[in-house]
Assembly symmetry: C2
Homo-oligomer: 437 residues x 2
């Protein structure tokens, strides 16, 4: 494709969708990319850079292999939320170099965006939106849109502000098309505008966009001034990122980068495994402490993995439900007390029924009712405790301001191994005379 026929290539390349352009670009080697930089201007590059994932590890290298001014122009041409996302992942000196090569107003705009916490509305919003005065007519607004269309990330929503930049209404391009040209915007705009604050968490923002089926959501600052918008494609990224982080948490491994080599995979999984190995060692130490009990009744060893395994499963279930509930946002959270009480009740019900089942099975299998009772009782108690740990630990972490998803599944199961073993041997010690009598 790239053997000298620049014109043919340019036409073919620019006819592709931006996403396909980006995929093509990412498949090239450096020499080929250098050719591309000569053939395409920064504006044409910026168009498809908007579709590249911002946390691409090689992004910094890609920008460095371009002439600095070319890279700065490219970043400047991108929608500024995407440019800010890329800058966020670059070393500080690179950020300053590129910003210094941009025009003052653009650099100031980008610096402002970089200032917001990445996981808030301010961190994901773009300032490339269209805002007009509500005094205009539909025809004037359409003419204005025509002028601003090239710069704006979306022109499907037009935000109407007063002289102080306060948001007074919104009108969709659909409404503009449907109404007559001489109609005043103020007469047809929606005054009941759903907004979000720059400080709102990105997950809540994404949920709002999803609930209302919006294409974009306006962002206001503390003075209720319109400062940006968040578009639906950013909301999708957020929903996917949050789901992926909940999922990674539950598994105790970062699943985001799945196409890597086996040694890198192993190095990602090992830290958790080794950490939990030490927690598991305390369980081993605990069992060791009961060795005399075990040598007296080696039958007890038979049920260790049954009890720890089942309690671990129950703990994982309640952990998953708790993390999901916390992720759903504040308005859907029931009161703490009700939640705790509910979890205790769920744990007790699950524990008692599973305990009774195992009591009957063991009682029949070993023809030893007291042994069955011991195992059943230990199982019921272990499940109840594991359920509680699975639901209370993420809630506690959330209260303390940590991400509840870091209380991972493997952590809960390993912790529940410890409590289950403690419960099991305490109960066994109590009943040992009865079942080995």
């Amino acid at each position: 494709l790239e053997n000298g026929e620049t014109k043919v290539f340019r036409k073919r390349f620019l006819d592709m969708h931006f996403y396909d352009q980006a995929q093509f670009y990412l498949s090239l080697d450096e020499a080929q990319r250098q050719k591309l930089y000569r053939v395409l201007n920064p504006h044409e590059m910026g168009d498809f850079f908007d579709t590249i994932e911002d946390d691409l590890p090689q992004m910094s290298d890609l920008l460095r292999e371009m002439a600095p001014q070319y890279a700065a122009d490219l970043l400047n041409d991108m929608f500024d939320d995407n440019a800010a996302d890329i800058l966020e992942h670059l070393p500080k000196e690179d950020v300053n170099r590129y910003l210094s090569l941009m025009s003052k107003p653009d650099a100031i705009e980008l610096r402002k965006l970089l200032h917001y916490d990445t996981e808030t509305a301010g961190g994901i919003m773009t300032t490339d939106f269209v805002s007009l005065s509500a005094d205009l007519s539909v025809g004037q607004a359409l003419a204005e849109l025509k002028r601003e269309a090239a710069e704006a990330e979306t022109i499907y929503y037009v935000y109407l502000v007063d002289a102080d930049q306060l948001l007074v209404g919104v009108i969709t391009l659909r409404d503009l098309i449907v109404n007559d040209n001489h109609t005043k915007l103020a007469d047809v705009m929606t005054v009941n505008v759903i907004t979000t604050s720059v400080h709102d968490e990105q997950a809540d923002v994404a949920q709002k966009i999803r609930d209302y089926n919006f294409i974009a959501l306006p962002v206001v600052d503390d003075d209720q001034k319109l400062v940006g918008i968040i578009t639906v494609d950013d909301a999708i990224e957020v929903i996917d990122d949050e789901a992926s982080s909940d999922y990674s948490g539950l598994a105790g491994v970062d699943v985001d980068d799945v196409s890597e080599n086996p040694f890198k995979s192993a190095s990602k999984r090992l830290p958790w495994l080794i950490t939990l190995l030490f927690l598991g060692m305390s369980t081993a130490t605990l069992i060791n402490h009961y060795e005399s009990l075990l040598s007296e009744a080696s039958i007890l060893a038979v049920f260790i993995s049954l009890i720890t395994g089942t309690a671990g499963n129950a703990g994982t279930q309640s952990l998953a439900v708790a993390v999901r509930r916390l992720a759903l946002g504040n308005d859907k959270k029931p009161r703490l007390f009700k939640l705790v009480f509910g979890e205790i009740l769920t744990g007790v019900v699950t524990g008692v029924i599973t305990g009774l089942t195992v009591m009957v099975i063991v009682g029949i299998w070993k023809q030893n009712l007291m042994l069955g009772l011991t195992i059943g009782l230990a199982m019921a108690a272990a499940i109840t405790v594991a359920n509680l740990a699975g639901s209370l630990i993420p809630m506690l972490m959330d209260k303390l301001g940590f991400d509840p998803a870091v209380a991972s599944g493997p952590f809960i199961t390993t912790l529940s191994d410890l409590t289950s073993v403690l419960i099991y041997f305490s109960i066994a010690q109590l009943f040992i005379r009865a079942f080995i009598g």
Copy 2:
């Protein structure tokens, strides 16, 4: 709000966003809802019914409490993908009753949609799109849009078809606004249209919409005729549903409905727990089989939970990665052989390093090098096998046409308990003379 002042209420209610109207409606009791049915016409009800979740359990009751013709008109007024989604969850006689009360063409349209598999592009698409002839001018297209705006789910993309309904191009409303009225659509349309087939899986469709940042994606049938579109809000639902089902699978519990009572929660979790209890019983039986070994060296019991727990954690990690990789769609899947080889290597590396760690710890703790070696070896083998099970089982289920996410985390950990114990005692039996000598 609702005490007789119908006019005031109507104005207030209709000023709210559809989503807020729906939330208000769902908060009413039946008597209040009956009042609402008298105050609002089916068209006004349909507007906000579009925002209600289609799998709401009480949907069937809500529709039954309306006059049948009113319910039919309401469904008819909704975007037809949403109406079809609701009908899918209703009993057959209700579906037929409502369809018979609609106009013939509308009923036929809906029946067609109901015919598609719910998890495919056909199952989530809407037929409420705008398609025009490419021979029109921009001005004519805008006039046409004005007429069709009320019916269409989105007018931001206009699809251009030939006489046979074959898709020849697409143009965005943005392009229409920017270009002059007398320009021919054929001269400014995008001819390289990204489409999806009615049979494509919904997850792949959502991924496409996400990659390309589309607001809507056209759906074509086997003859390449345009039959529907899928809008970005449906893509969000799909992405969220798929993430939620992967997550539920990993936890072995359906986390979708989190605001329920403790007894219902318990009844949802118990089937899995009890099923896995029986699988866990086979592990217990296996340990029981080795009871003579255990009574000879009760120290072996100390490390059962350490080995099963750590192997279970490793299995959960590789399960999560495998399920995620399968969810990413076909184009990103590396070749099967490479995958299996990669997973084996990851398993071996993780297993060997963890095994060495535990060997050293146990060797020092118990001042028994041979015991350390036994535990370390068992640990390394158990982790390797658990890793393989965690990655191969979901891949196998995918090949066999099952949803890989149903190979749940608890299932993998319980299965890995069994293999770990088998490995552990086999190795221990081999070395027993060496460490208790």
